[in-house]
Amino acid sequence: MIEFFQAIADPAVVATVLRVMTPLLLAALGVLISDRAGVLNIGMEGIMLSGALIGVLVSAATANPFLGLFAALIGGGMLGALMALFINGLGTQFIITGIALNMAALAATTLGLFLATGDKGMSGALQSGVLPNIDIPLLGGIPVLGPLLSGHHMLTYVAILAVPTVAIMLARTPFGLHIRAVGSDPKAAAAAGVSRNRVQFHALTLSGVFGGAAGAYLSMGYVSWFAQNMTAGRGFIALAAEVMGMGTAWGTFAAAAVLGIAETVAITMQTKGLPNELMQMIPYIVPAVMLTVYAARRQAKARSNS
């Protein structure tokens, strides 16, 4: 048991957990905002993939990783806005819209990579930038806590700070109220003069911005290149994290943390010589198991109430 706690307090382990949970948390918060507005963003996988490529291409072209991040945020937001235009403008179902976006993003990013580098697999030929880690001046000096809290990737801090921000935005601001109103009862919202189309447009755009950030983290932090289909289902894991989080920002944070720990265990076991492929299954099995356990408990509760 003591060994377990020592392992958890090990700065290297904490750093790995934070490293793998950052993209999940950013993406899951994006999914959360869209879900509360009644348009679950299935296209998160495609938005992340696009953000990852845009970040690499723009940072390589401008030699400035921050411009790359900025472009990824804008690009992600535009894809989210595009989804909203299709859903409310053309009347497509949001699930199918998300599936179509994922298909289009896989094709378009491969195409874009090919046009930029002449290679369909990897962006290795491009000199793309990496976003920096941040050392927090005073905090870093504290003996035990310092190494745990300081020196992580800038988007890791952004992701963690985004949790209370999103929680407050959803619970306390007029915009959050509108999102919840449209998501829970569009007719009542319309009667109160809240436009569903407008709110869902803003929610999906914001969701896309989070997706763009998650993608930029993957290609300019987690690794320093873009590879075809590099998200490998992380957008879907984020979807599961949001569902596990029961529609709250803090719940989503907890779910992303659990999934981050699961992936860290998987990575650690791989280095100990356990079969790579079986360990890679863990981040995909854990959300399915947790989702099912939650659903079963909710069902049992509903039964005992009735």
Partner: protein, 355 residues
């Protein structure tokens, strides 16, 4: 009767028009970026009909699309958004290859046995999320999305540690024995007898869905669960039946694909043909009979894209964009539920009653 056929044709004409416009919207900008824009359009639109061999390629590409399209159709018809078809297709291919490599079967039983094992193992990827939904109420969509990847890595593990040929260089299985193949039908293409299975499956699927009591029951459960429970239908059982049937067909599709096209199994990523099947099902309006033309059409686009890639400097990924755009356009309520269009359909049908 003729009036209702006419109404159907009107809807088909509108769908066709929308699709043509979407293809042009994606393709014209690409064409203009090339030195000879008309050559791009000509090659994409007419190229696949140029030779018998290319038409064979269309049938070859349509084979898995028909099967996965049928699988998705049956699952969607039961009202479930289970996206496990992709995982089932992968597992089915792997299990068929495993049967071929590991079991000492020969002669006529070999290929059917491998397809059967592929179908049974492959169906797991649809059954598990379906069961978790029916039994515990867990979202089948999210579960199937993540479990597809879990099945993928389990499959890659099996490939790496059991089926891998150490002398093959890359990660691939031992050679599949010659008895475990589907016969080629056309010289110069990889078209194989699997295409016949796909056609028959779609027709049988259509007859089942529209012509039998259990097909009707599945449609009732899918379209109005409340009415189904009023009728006293065993909803859970029917839902599971549809998931099992869809999974078996998708697994079979993967098995047929591997046995028909490859001499070794080497998939280390999800092949994406399950997503094609979902597009086919939606394009076919979830009608098994229409799955056949929908799959042929998407295969035609694929062959056109391949020809562009081979003859001009246009990557075939352009087809992915076209397919995604078509998927959106044909589900756009703004077009197909437009009041003017609905009135037109009603007028065409309404005159039948008047006459």
């Amino acid at each position: 009767m003729t009036r209702s056929i006419l109404a159907g044709l009107t809807e088909f004409a509108l769908t066709a028009l929308v699709i043509v416009l979407v293809i042009l919207a994606v393709l014209v900008p690409v064409a203009l970026s090339q030195p000879d824009p008309f050559e791009v359009l000509r090659l994409f639109v007419l190229g696949p009909f140029g030779t018998i061999r290319h038409m064979g390629n269309i049938l070859e590409a349509a084979t898995p699309a028909m099967m996965t399209g049928l699988a998705a159709t049956i699952i969607f018809r039961a009202g479930m958004f289970n996206l496990g078809v992709e995982g089932s297709f992968f597992l089915g291919g792997l299990a068929a290859a495993a049967t071929a490599v590991l079991l000492p079967l020969t002669g006529f039983v070999a290929t059917p046995a491998a397809i059967l094992v592929g179908a049974l193992v492959g169906s797991l990827a649809c059954i598990v999320p379906g069961y978790l939904r029916v039994r515990f109420g867990a979202s089948e969509m999210v579960n199937s999305l993540v479990l597809n990847f879990a099945f993928l890595f389990a499959g890659v593990y099996f490939l790496n540690y059991v089926l891998r040929d150490p002398n093959a260089g890359a990660l691939m299985s031992y050679k599949l024995p010659a008895d475990f193949t589907l016969d080629r039908l056309l010289q110069g293409t990889r078209l194989h007898t699997g295409v016949i299975i796909a056609f028959v499956a779609c027709i049988l699927g259509g007859i089942w869905l529209y012509g039998t009591r259990s097909g009707l029951n599945v449609r009732i459960v899918g379209s109005s669960p409340g009415f189904a429970s009023h009728l006293g239908l065993a909803s859970s059982k029917l839902l599971m039946q549809a998931q099992v049937a869809g999974g078996l067909i998708a697994g079979m599709a993967g098995a047929i694909e591997v046995l028909g096209l490859y001499s070794r199994f080497s998939w280390t990523a999800l092949p994406g043909l399950g997503w094609t099947g979902i597009t086919v099902a939606i394009l076919a309006r979830e009608n098994p009979f229409l799955v056949i033309p929908a799959a042929l059409f998407l295969a035609y686009l694929q062959v056109g894209g391949d020809m562009l890639a081979r003859n001009l400097d246009v990557p075939s990924e352009i087809v992915g964009l076209v397919t995604a755009a078509i998927l959106l356009a044909v589900t756009a309520a703004a077009i197909f539920r437009h009041p003017a269009f609905l009135r037109l359909i009603r007028d065409i049908k309404g005159q039948e009653r008047g006459a």
